[in-house]
């Protein structure tokens, strides 16, 4: 048994109150006569919204929070009774349960004035947002990001850039407010700074022992998801970096006796985060990197070219990139972070993050000799989770890695 050396990072513990404050901020925004938008989670143009005084809310994060709070089951029941198939995205089913009036955390999300969807993560985002727009009778704006088949080309960027500019003029029409270019540049600068700090935090995890595990990391990504483009996010990641760097300097890790260093792919099974504790405590195995949490720090932004760089950032999302790109990314990480094995989480209701897992596993094994395990459950719906099955597979995998 490996004892966990430290309590959670204090910056990670802050997140609970930040989440509650975030959902309240939309109520406040409406109180101040500002607009509220429901947006998709990965690289929506938050910088545009914040510089126009529009408060974003994240249905995807809301589903995740509801699941961690063990409040999602009743929400599933409501949406399934409405005719939403159980095979569809469990984030969508969860949130639709709330939209349709089911009991939900914080009394449901503050109703939006408009919806904004990007297709850089999945096509389902589009379909889910269309359904919400229809149900809520709200305008919907869609950023149609092309899937990248080889590398990001100038024409991909130009297309998204153009759509972002169109969005600004549409928002001017509905809110009556123009975009202040200086404010936008400032938001872009702040967003870029927060992402840069997050990348530095991630870099610190190369240290042995690793100073931050997956549970803290999955919490600490929240300000970047929700508040990229604000001063608060920059300050948050400053604090986090200080804390993580201090641990590295003192040689303090998540585990007293770190035996295995793992990489995580896929969305954590939010209802069973204790799966990570199991690996830490039983095997001394710590996740030193997650593709999922790294997603929010992928690209730099350039305040001198705000639209172009926001477009690029939106396109450079792992699920929007081709498999050979993921393969190169993962094999590089394995080297840089001295990783022993990879855990790939498949989710039955999330094709975008799951469909390539078997192929990636095969390629990693055959071309790089990297061992991995693919688990199958659902990121939000705990009804399709079997703890016994997951434990058995993890035990077998750890045995392959040489655990006794």
């Amino acid at each position: 048994m490996s004892k966990r050396a430290r309590r959670s990072l204090s910056a990670a513990r802050e997140v609970t109150s930040l989440v509650a404050a975030h959902y309240m901020s939309a109520v406040q925004a409406h109180g101040e006569g500002r607009w509220v938008a429901w947006v998709t989670a990965v690289s929506p143009p938050l910088e545009i919204l914040y510089s126009m005084g529009i408060q974003p809310l994240f249905p995807e994060n809301y589903a995740c929070v509801a699941t961690v709070m063990k409040a999602s089951r009743n929400m599933f029941d409501v949406s399934e009774a409405y005719g939403i198939s159980r095979d569809l995205c469990s984030y969508a089913r969860c949130v639709m349960g709330s939209v349709l009036g089911g009991e939900a955390p914080f009394g449901g999300m503050e109703k939006p004035d408009f919806l904004l969807s990007t297709k850089n993560v999945c096509v389902v985002y589009m379909k889910w947002w269309e359904l919400m727009a229809h149900t809520l009778k709200c305008p919907l704006y869609v950023i149609d990001s092309p899937a990248i088949t080889d590398k990001i080309e100038e024409y991909h960027v130009r297309y998204v850039d153009k759509q972002l500019r169109d969005l600004v003029s549409e928002l001017r029409k509905i809110t009556g407010k123009s975009l202040d270019e200086d404010k936008l540049k400032e938001a872009v600068k702040l967003s870029d700074r927060a992402a840069e700090l997050w990348r530095k935090v991630i870099e610190q995890r190369r240290a042995k022992p690793c100073p931050m595990g997956v549970t803290d990391s999955s919490a600490a990504m929240f300000p970047l998801v929700a508040s990229a483009g604000t001063q608060e996010a920059v300050e948050y990641y400053g604090r986090l970096l200080d804390e993580v760097s201090a641990r590295v300097k003192q040689g303090v890790g998540v585990l007293e006796n770190e035996k295995f260093r793992l990489l995580l792919s896929g969305i954590p099974y939010w209802h069973h985060l204790r799966m990570f504790n199991y690996l830490e405590e039983k095997y001394g195995a710590v996740f030193v990197h997650e593709l999922y949490t790294a997603t929010w720090g992928m690209a730099s932004l350039n305040p001198a070219k705000p639209f172009e760089s926001m477009a690029f950032k939106s396109l450079l999302n792992p699920t929007n990139m081709p498999i050979h790109w993921s393969r190169n990314w993962i094999s590089g990480l394995v080297k840089d972070f001295d990783i022993d094995g990879i855990v790939l989480l498949s989710s039955r209701s999330c094709k975008a993050t799951s469909i390539g897992n078997l192929t990636i596993q095969k390629v990693l094994r055959e071309e790089y000799g990297i061992p991995s395990v693919v688990l199958e459950a659902d990121h939000t719906d705990d009804r399709v989770y079997s703890e016994a099955e997951v434990t058995t597979r993890l035990d077998a995998f750890m045995e392959v890695l040489g655990a006794k």
Binding site: S85, D87, C89, V123, D144, A147, I323, K351, G356
Partner: protein, 370 residues
């Protein structure tokens, strides 16, 4: 003596599609598999290649399971299986529009594991703005350059205009045939109509046009018109095998109209011959009312129009297991038709078909409408 052309002829064409494609290939020309309804086939035709619909029809997935999880859209899973089995050895290329996450994922996986056939992904836009239409036109230009190199044939303006004319002709003929189904009883069954459309997706268009013209000239003489107790419309994605419609028509329904990728959506809209060819093609393909970027109201309106025009008494929504875009749309469409007082039945299915269970549900639905 001239051969009589009946619906049976189109069934044969579809059943022998592999032979037709293989024969085409023996002439030294290319065969391109595609998702016909959303791939600008005119470009493929203009390059003297044969576009054929990819039929992802498998009952077991022993080869596909090595690459695709069991919860992948059942159509893509089937397609992976048949490609790995090399059942379509004649294919040189597969051209896939980026419609759903399973499709996007399929493309990426295929690129990793095989280049036989080659794979090409076209970005199909997810909204209906002018910009999206312009971008799709650019995407078609890129596809055209690719195909020109691939097929070794430069596509001239004349080639393109000719392709548009041939395709429009096919669309007009198919629409003419469809309109006849307003009659009571209709001169062709739903199964037969499906086979006419599916064969259009797999047969060289010039030949298909000739046969359609003959069929239309002779169809009035048909004496054994199909019978059915209630007039149904089927709504859904691609139905690539008539077996599921057979189950419906064996259960007392007669299918008189549809809202299918392998039905009206394939031919209802024409390419504008007055506009610049590529732009016109882009506009035509991006205005099909579909779950891939159309406002849901467009789909509701299309259904409403069809129900009225064909005096439909009930709708059967068909969804292959794990087909996300259609499952999402069904939530709204199902509610909308209910509000309009149109009875409907939703059937999710996968292969192998559970005929007995499906039949019981359809019979109950037909009974209710009688």
């Amino acid at each position: 003596m001239i051969e009589r052309v009946t619906a049976q002829k189109f069934r044969e064409l579809f059943k022998t599609r592999d032979d037709i494609a293989a024969k085409w290939k023996r002439t030294g020309k290319k065969v391109v598999g595609c998702i016909s309804t959303y791939t600008p086939e005119e470009i493929i035709y203009a390059a003297e290649a044969l576009p054929v619909e990819l039929i992802g029809r498998a009952e077991t997935f022993s080869k596909a399971d090595a690459y695709l999880p069991s919860f992948t859209c059942s159509f893509m899973r089937g397609l992976m299986e048949v490609l790995l089995e090399e059942r379509y050895g004649y294919l040189d290329l597969i051209a896939l529009p980026s419609l759903g996450d399973s499709l996007r994922g399929f493309y990426g996986i295929w690129k990793q594991i095989s280049d036989n056939p080659f794979a090409y992904l076209l970005h199909y836009p997810s909204n209906r703005s002018e910009e999206a239409c312009e971008y799709f036109a650019e995407e078609i230009e890129r596809f055209k350059s690719y195909i020109e190199t691939f097929a070794g044939k430069t596509i001239s303006k004349k080639d393109l205009r000719n392709a548009i004319d041939v395709y429009n002709e096919n669309r007009k003929l198919l629409k003419k045939l469809y309109w006849l189904r307003r009659k009571k009883p209709p001169p062709i069954s739903g199964v037969e109509a499906l086979e006419v459309v599916l064969s259009s997706m797999t047969t060289p268009k010039d030949l298909h046009n000739q046969l359609l013209e003959t069929l239309l000239a002779e169809i009035d003489e048909r004496e054994d018109c199909p019978e059915g107790a209630v007039r149904l419309l089927v709504s859904g994605h691609i139905v690539d095998d008539s077996d599921i419609l057979e189950v419906i028509e064996d259960s007392g329904g007669i299918i008189v109209s549809d809202d299918l990728d392998s039905g009206s959506r394939y031919f209802w809209h024409l390419v504008d011959t007055e506009a610049k060819p590529i732009e016109a093609i882009s506009r035509r393909y991006t205005r099909i009312p579909s779950p891939y970027g159309s406002p849901i109201e467009d789909r509701i309106n299309f259904l409403r129009t069809m129900v009225k025009a064909f005096e439909v008494e009930g709708i059967v929504f068909l969804t292959r297991k794990f087909c996300e875009p259609y499952l999402f749309d069904y939530v709204t469409l199902g509610q909308a038709v209910k509000e309009e007082g149109i009875p409907s039945l939703s059937l999710e299915y996968e292969y192998p078909l559970t005929r007995g269970a499906l039949k019981t549900r359809i019979e109950a639905f037909v009974e209710m409408l009688r």
